[in-house]
């Protein structure tokens, strides 16, 4: 085992210690090792682009690039994890108001940066464990030390290296599996860049946690991530959702496999069809979009599974 491994594990329990002076000392050493000159600046809670001209220049340059490219391609480039928040980028592109641009800057720093790279240090500093040559050791050790002293991520601009302290995180430990992010009253990740909200490990928009009564049917139906959609319905209240969509039941049956609950085919007032199905092991209920021409639960399931007949299914979990 590497002699620094235990320190690393301890430092991964966020937020841990924060020694700002030590961080900046180690980052200066890191820059010297790379032969790069930059100002070192901590991005603290409450920051604004007006206070950080280098960051503002960077964000404006990215937005200008957005205008040159097809927006869809640009949004895809931000990566799947950022896809939801990438709508903010679209908003920034359209609205150009200060708040939207600020959110876009947050996305650039905290989700994925413009060129795919991401300086989230818990990952990057593991280079130190495998460093064999002097050329790698010389930069990976000070970076490792910066992480130990409280750095979460870095963000580069032309003349400044911004660093962000580790966030305060709220987690739960399910009966099976790993610790996961969850907070029922506010952000599960309290970050100096931007707070993030999680519901039992799934990242959701802030209103899903803080003001679920304001979730709209349109938002639920526009949500493409099934887990997020499931949580939105749960938080709004399935009863309320059904009432608001004017849903009527077209069919109901059960697969009768171990753990299988009944399922139902619904049609809303706009003619969209949805199948309410369950997972036999996670106790989750999903509202799955199905083609408009299906008439039964079995047809709906065949349409989304691609199976020619359901009798092929011998178990589900």
């Amino acid at each position: 085992m590497h002699p620094d491994y235990e320190r690393y594990v301890k430092a991964c329990d966020y937020p841990g210690v924060l020694d700002e002076k030590a961080v900046e000392r180690h980052l200066a050493e890191y820059l010297r090792a790379l032969g790069i000159e930059r100002q070192i600046v901590q991005l603290k809670s409450g920051w604004s682009l007006d206070d950080h001209p280098p960051l503002q220049l960077y964000v404006r340059a990215v937005l200008a690039e957005f205008l040159k490219r097809d927006a869809r391609v640009a949004l895809d480039a931000l990566g799947a994890q950022a896809a939801r928040d990438a709508r903010v980028a679209q908003a920034a592109r359209d609205a150009r108001d200060a708040r939207a641009i600020h959110r876009f800057a947050c996305l650039c720093i905290q989700a994925y940066s413009w060129q795919y790279w991401r300086f989230e240090l818990s990952w990057l500093v593991t280079t130190w464990f495998g460093a064999k040559t002097e050329a790698v050791k010389i930069w990976s050790q000070p970076l490792f030390n910066a992480f130990i002293c409280g750095t979460w991520m870095l963000h580069w601009t032309d003349d400044t290296l911004y660093w962000v302290a580790k966030p305060r995180v709220h987690t739960e430990r399910p009966s099976r599996g790993f610790r996961r992010l969850h907070c029922e009253t506010g952000p599960a990740v309290e970050s100096d860049v931007e707070d993030l909200y999680f519901w039992h490990g799934v990242m959701v928009p802030s209103k899903v946690v803080e003001t679920p009564e304001r979730i709209t049917v349109e938002e639920i139906e526009a949500e493409k991530n099934m887990e997020v959609q499931r949580i939105m319905i749960e938080r709004l209240g399935a009863d309320k959702y059904m009432r608001q969509t004017g849903a009527k039941v077209l069919d109901m049956d059960s697969l009768t496999l171990v753990g299988s609950a009944p399922r139902a085919l619904m049609e809303d007032k706009r003619g969209n069809k949805w199948m309410i199905g369950t997972d036999g092991s996670t106790k989750r209920v999903y509202l799955m979009a199905v083609p408009r021409d299906v008439r039964t639960c079995s047809e709906a399931h065949r349409a989304i599974s691609g199976l020619d007949k359901e009798s092929r299914l011998i178990a589900e979990a």
Binding site: G177, V249, A303, I314
Partner: protein
């Protein structure tokens, strides 16, 4: 049925699910070619030994992505291949996943879904589709 019935049906499904749902492993002792097991949003199809597999992969994960929902993992001794062709009983638009092969029994694990233990053989993974996008379901 009226609108109230829809809400009631939803509530009934939730209630019934809480009664019947079990999280213990699904142990499949025997699986014929053409039979299928579902784990969350992936379908595991038993296919013949001549089913085309594609190139061998290093990853053991059966769904692309870095979310918890995508962590369907075929554990050793299974070998994972990229997947080259759909089983003949699948619609041509079905979203294809990797192919899995094992000479011994193996387990497909997931952090939340029940694990599935499968007999030796070759398997093709497919993904549940979203009817709005005709793409793989996102989770």
């Amino acid at each position: 049925m009226n609108i109230k019935d829809a809400a009631q049906v939803f509530s009934d499904i939730v209630e019934k699910m809480n009664e019947v749902s079990i999280n213990s492993s699904r142990i499949i002792h025997r699986m014929e070619i053409g039979q299928v097991v579902r784990q969350g949003d992936i379908y595991i199809h038993r296919v013949g030994d001549s089913h085309e597999c594609g190139k061998k992969l290093e990853s053991r994960q059966l769904a692309i992505g870095n979310t918890m929902g995508s962590r369907h993992v075929a554990e050793a001794p299974a070998t994972i291949y990229e997947g080259a062709t759909l089983p003949r009983w699948c619609d041509a638009r079905t979203f294809i996943g990797p192919c899995v092969e094992s000479a011994k029994r193996f387990v497909v694990t997931h952090p939340e879904h029940a694990h599935v233990e499968l007999p030796p053989g070759r398997y093709q993974i497919t993904h549940q589709m979203d009817a709005r996008t005709m793409d793989r379901v996102q989770d």
